[in-house]
Symmetry: C2
Subunit: 567 residues, 2 copies
């Protein structure tokens, strides 16, 4: 468990503040993350990394000369919000474009993706390279579905070196993709990690067993096998990684043997004595291998092996000097302190022109968002309990926080005279910005998609609203990647949208159709929710990770129900 | 527990080999430890650190330019043998004298102390500075009795910087002592550590409690108190350290917030946000504070705060560049590789002149050592079990290993025609060299002291032998620091020596007197041994650490008994 703690809610933020103070030579804090405290040349590509906290020195420890320019830091194991990604990127921007990299997790894909869109809309060229090194998370022909684990280190080190060398955005992106395509990892866990403030670990590995292919947030492993002696463990790691060797790969490799938090240096060094000869026996030449704690998962017990096949382009970038908390290579000349940054990124909050009738709908929307916010606040504990039976129990809190921010933003916009589209749009942004995590991004996306179907000048018809809801469903399914039956909010959203559409088509009023749709959502969510207590905490790893999304269906149904009562 | 392991016996040695491979840029292996792999100027003071393993990056990670020249590595939590200390020092020697530093533990004090004597006998000026930073281990007026914990880092960093700057041996010693006198630490533990291969931790801290003042090998804490929030914990650490502030100390300080292994970086950073303002509020200016895992204790949960009060001499040494696995500060020019080292240090094994009668006694001694070696080999399991009820269970193994080496050395010396003094002297060296740990050093010392009372030319009388035994007891008590009733081998040794002396005085033959003395030892040891099962593993921390020495009394009695039968 976590022993040093003040307030679990502020753990990640406080840890980041402490890190910034200790490493003030290298980094300085900005809202939502860190940027270098050293001077960078204008016009350079800015390299921004990030993701959930709890993996130190990943990601905030990547920031420093020769490595990343900035890191966005979410809550423990939770993606930072779109707004935080956007703001940190604005702080880091040097005018040469932005490249973002992170571990290919749903929430990060959404939040960094939306932030990149927002930046591009402002004329800042923003590119994204997902790190997808974990061979256990998807087959070789579906590499883009793989998650990122300790491969974050070589991929981001190489990307940052290219950016600091002064390469163009196209070139940095190309080299970053090449580094990622050349990187493979495989990990094992001996024991789970415990979230700050929690008593029980997120998962457990049976004594005498090890879980193969585990991720860095307690994601399901692919199998549990008996704990092996170091020699066999080394063989297993090497075999799994080399079996996935990229086509046409070279014989020179960067290697990282990574400890996840509680597996100690001495154990990693013992394991290394078995791994190195096996890699060499496979004909590989090891180039500056590193062994230690680089991508951790709080106090998780386990380790992973990462290999990056180098070529004449990647090798100099892997060996280039850098000076970050995570890694120091070679010597860099003394640094010049950076110029001060603005305190915050100013966001334009003026309201576009609107019609009287759209303003009335805007007010109705603001009342609706207020009602659902109140309902979610009231249900926060219950939603947390549902979620805790399967996930990490923070769903209720994230929903309540996002909805409250959305309600405040909607009220503010409505009272400033905004039309329906702007009121709902502002609510969606606020939700995504404050809720954080995957569900925050999904709700922001859903509301934002719906807002695009509305207008600030015309009052929407029942058909317009239905079309907006269907478009929202489609977007959430496409970008979130879930379908009916995956035990996510889609299980409630889909029957809601279908019923709404059918009833409106059948001639029901919008209010009546909405009420019937809400009922359909409720029934679907309840069926899902009733499964949960039976599964309990002891259910297999493979099912456990879906819990968070189960609670999502329940909260969707609640929102649908509450909004059907708003007049 | 330790999950990555091949053979528990070889864990420390294998981990060291892995470390040397990964950090080959900085270090290279030698028998018993590591030395720099980079060139050092002839004539420079060589700075040698060391102690038990299991504390990475302490001590082997201290080796590197601007820090230590070499580290001697014992087994997990066990002092390296005298011979290994001696040999690593010989490898590290640059002709400018040697300064040794370590954490003031009994075994290290003995083994480094004997090694220093051996070096000085060869004309190499060897000095010792004990690190004594732990305020919890003895009151302020008995600083020399304090043990070294995380203060190893600033004290050794400063010492190494002075040595690398080219300071004279006198000057390096003076600055090292000044750094140690200016350094204070206080630590807390939230949970114990588990030795490689062991199932249960060495000690446990009750859930919801923390143990104040714990050392880095599971030594007893001074009290257990309820787990405190980070703010209170920070206050406690700062108060305990500042309460012990050295007289006349300055306002500028080096600070280390250290994690013991499982307490993670994020937790340390959270704690830092509370510690820093308190230090500043006390009027202190923080000079390059460091936060992380620097002196670990396997997978122990806990942390410590170390403060070194700097003056105009110490501050530049704290800030001087260094390049070691434990710490990298500033930039050093590219290193030149070091010249090759001899494979091993050659020890002169020629035998001094001896008389026929002394040779006969030498043969008797060789038979005696063989007999006690056989007996200890047979009792290894039982001695281990007695020890495991209270200590770490390795006593039987260490005794058997030491005795076997002593028997082989004695036999070799006797067959080469050595007299009594040389046979026993060679046996004592071999015992200390192979057994390692505190008991190895103590037995080596005891036998060596006895050998000094013998001669290679005259046959010893009963009175000579008695005087040698009494001198041995006196030396072991003086250097080992234990007295009767401390539950160590002294509990058996003292009645043995007293009875032997009394019986010889009363006119008994040496054989009869020895037999009676052995009986007295056995009775004393049995009384001690019988206590152990009742105490069990659950007994309080304060009693637990004495267990290893309890088994020592039993093995002493066994040795006394077996040798009384030798003819």
């Amino acid at each position: 468990m976590t022993h040093i703690i003040q307030n679990p809610e502020e753990f990640a933020e406080t840890a980041l503040a402490g890190y910034c103070d200790v490493y003030s030579r290298i980094v300085r804090p900005v809202p939502g993350g860190v940027v270098r405290s050293t001077h960078s040349e204008k016009g350079k590509v800015a390299f921004v990394v990030g993701g959930g906290s709890g993996h130190f020195p990943t990601f905030s420890g990547f920031v420093g000369r020769g490595f990343a320019d900035a890191a966005v830091a979410g809550d423990i194991f939770a993606s930072p919000s779109t707004r935080l990604v956007y703001e940190v990127c604005k702080m880091a921007d040097l005018g040469g474009g932005i490249i973002m990299s992170f571990g290919n997790y749903a929430g990060d894909v959404l939040n960094f993706g939306f932030a990149a869109e927002r930046l591009r809309a402002e004329g800042i060229d923003a590119r994204i390279v997902h790190v997808t090194d974990d061979v256990a998370s998807a087959p070789k022909d579906q590499i883009s579905r793989r998650r990122g684990v300790a491969g974050d280190i070589p991929v981001c080190k190489i990307t940052g070196a290219a950016a600091d060398r002064g390469d163009s955005l196209d070139e940095v992106e190309r080299l970053s993709r090449l580094a990622n395509a050349s990187t493979r990892s495989f990990g094992v866990a001996f024991g789970g990690c415990t979230l700050p403030g929690a008593i029980e670990p997120l998962f457990e590995v049976k004594t005498g067993m090890m879980a193969l292919g585990l991720g860095i947030h307690g994601e399901p492993g692919i199998e549990e096998v008996p704990l092996a002696p170091a020699s066999d463990l080394g063989k297993l790691l090497v075999e799994r990684v080399l079996a996935d060797r990229p086509d046409g790969s070279s014989a020179r490799v960067a290697v990282l043997l990574n400890g996840l938090g509680t597996t100690k240096y001495e154990e990693l060094f013992v394991l290394w004595t078995y791994i190195k000869p096996l890699l060499e026996a496979a004909g590989l030449t090891l180039v500056s291998p590193i062994v230690g704690e680089y991508v951790t998962s709080l106090n998780m017990e386990g380790c992973s092996l990462t290999v990056t096949w180098l070529d004449e382009e990647l090798e100099p970038l892997w060996l280039a000097p850098c000076d970050a908390a995570a890694l120091r290579v070679g010597n860099l000349p003394d640094a010049t302190p950076a110029a001060p940054l603005p305190d915050a990124i100013v966001v334009d909050e003026t309201v576009p022109e609107s019609s009287e009738e759209s303003r009335k709908v805007g007010e109705l929307i603001a009342r609706g968002v207020k009602a659902l916010s109140d309902a979610l606040a009231g249900a926060e504990g219950e939603l947390g309990r549902i979620d805790a039976q399967a996930g990490d129990g923070d769903h209720g809190h994230g929903m309540a926080r996002g909805a409250a921010a959305a309600a405040a933003a909607a009220a503010k916009a409505a009272s400033a005279g905004a039309g329906a589209a702007t009121v709902l749009g502002r609510a969606s942004d606020a939700w995504a910005d404050r809720a954080g995590g995957t569900s925050g991004a999904i709700w922001g996306l859903g509301l934002r998609s719906a807002a695009l179907g509305l207008s600030d000048t015309a009052a929407p018809s029942a058909e317009t609203v239905t079309a907006a809801v269907l478009a929202s469903l489609e977007n959430v399914m496409a970008l979130g990647g879930a379908k009916v039956g995956d035990k996510t909010l889609i299980d409630a959203f889909e029957p809601f949208a279908k019923t709404l559409s059918k009833r409106v088509e059948a001639g029901d009023s919008l209010a009546t159709a909405w009420e019937k749709a809400a009922k359909a959502a409720d029934e679907a969510a309840t069926a899902t929710a009733q499964l949960l207590p039976k599964l309990g905490r002891a259910r297999p790893l493979a099912e456990r990770s879906k819990g968070h999304r189960d609670a999502g269906a329940v909260s969707f149904a609640l929102v649908a129900h509450v909004t059907s009562k708003v007049e």
